[in-house]
Amino acid sequence: MLEFLRFGVFTFGGGWSIIAQMQQLYVEKKKVITSQELLDLTSVAKSLPGTMIANVAMLYGYRVGGILGGLTCVFGMCFPPMAVLIAISFAYNAFRQNPWVHAAMSGMQAAVVPIILCAALGLAKGSVKYPPCLLVVVACLGIYLFTSVNPVLLVVLGVVSGLVISGIYERREAEKHGAA
């Protein structure tokens, strides 16, 4: 719960930096979940309506502590940004024009890419089970960059290719066993 309050405070640059923090804390340090599980949760969260990180918080919380765990994580995650924004909305004009605020924010913005890079490297391990999965990575990357399709479609593409690829590989393995 407290950890999620901390995530909430440090979520700059959208939901993906939360994933990076979870990768660092829960996968690498505490080993509560594997990087594969984190990818699974992220995919489910991304394919449901609503805010991705609130969904991730719900899924992770449920995984660790049932429905109550889910609720605590969601509120832990959402409370700090809400408090910050309420404070900012009182001093909205001063905040918007202050050059120091801009300077600090530009600095943090520059940190977002390294943070997500760090998460991506961690997540890479669990993501490719069979060689054709690499094709799925490349295809989704291309589609994401060059079209503006809904991410849900990418997940659907993943579902279909997952069924096809594992179908092929499982049959192959079965044949090998049959031959031997």
Partner: protein, 181 residues
């Protein structure tokens, strides 16, 4: 009444969107047609929401709610945006934990994981373009912060909150004191 209306509008936004920038058109539709914010305020709040912690949708909800009905308005709007998470996603969490070890789910995940990873890479590339390049030129100070952060993160395993604080300090020095663009 205004609280219910805020809740309902943001509930629609929540169910109709998949987070991030895709929410903006719907948010601006709802808040402008209800007279909670002007077009200019929407532009500003998107900028502020991107600079402050927390997801864009929640931040816009807080801001619009504050404008319309103070702190209770902010709470109502936030609950609205979170409703899909609290209902649909809670259901999904239950189902996912139940079925995740089934053969079918395992097969599906073989494809979903790389798809999701591809998306992460996509986000990474498009963010690098927008954060380090402005108006066609490379922003060297930002790039420098980015490179230092990468080394600290990958080589020295510095925690992410510390990285953000360091970068915040670096931003104050480079952009605030030295006035580098």
């Amino acid at each position: 009444m205004v609280l219910l209306k805020l809740y309902w509008s943001f509930l629609l936004i929540g169910f109709g969107s998949f987070g991030g920038l895709s929410m903006i058109p719907q948010i601006s539709n709802q808040v402008i047609s209800n007279g909670w914010m002007t077009v200019n305020e929407v532009t500003d709040i998107v900028a502020i929401a991107e600079m402050t912690p927390g997801p864009l949708g929640l931040n816009c909800a807080t801001f619009a709610g504050m404008q319309a009905a103070g702190i209770f308005g902010a709470v109502a709007a936030n609950l609205g945006v979170l409703t899909p998470t609290l209902t649909l996603c809670a259901l999904a969490a239950i189902c996912f934990q139940k079925f995740k070890d089934s053969r079918l789910m395992q097969r599906i995940l073989v494809g979903v994981r790389p798809a999701c990873f591809g998306m992460v890479l996509g986000v990474l590339i498009s963010l690098s373009m927008s954060n380090y390049i402005s108006a066609g030129t490379l922003r060297l100070p930002s790039l420098a912060i980015g490179i230092v952060d990468s080394v600290l993160l990958l080589k020295y395993k510095i925690s992410i909150p510390k990285i953000l604080l360091l970068s915040c300090g670096a931003g104050l020095i480079l952009f605030g004191v030295l006035h580098l663009a």
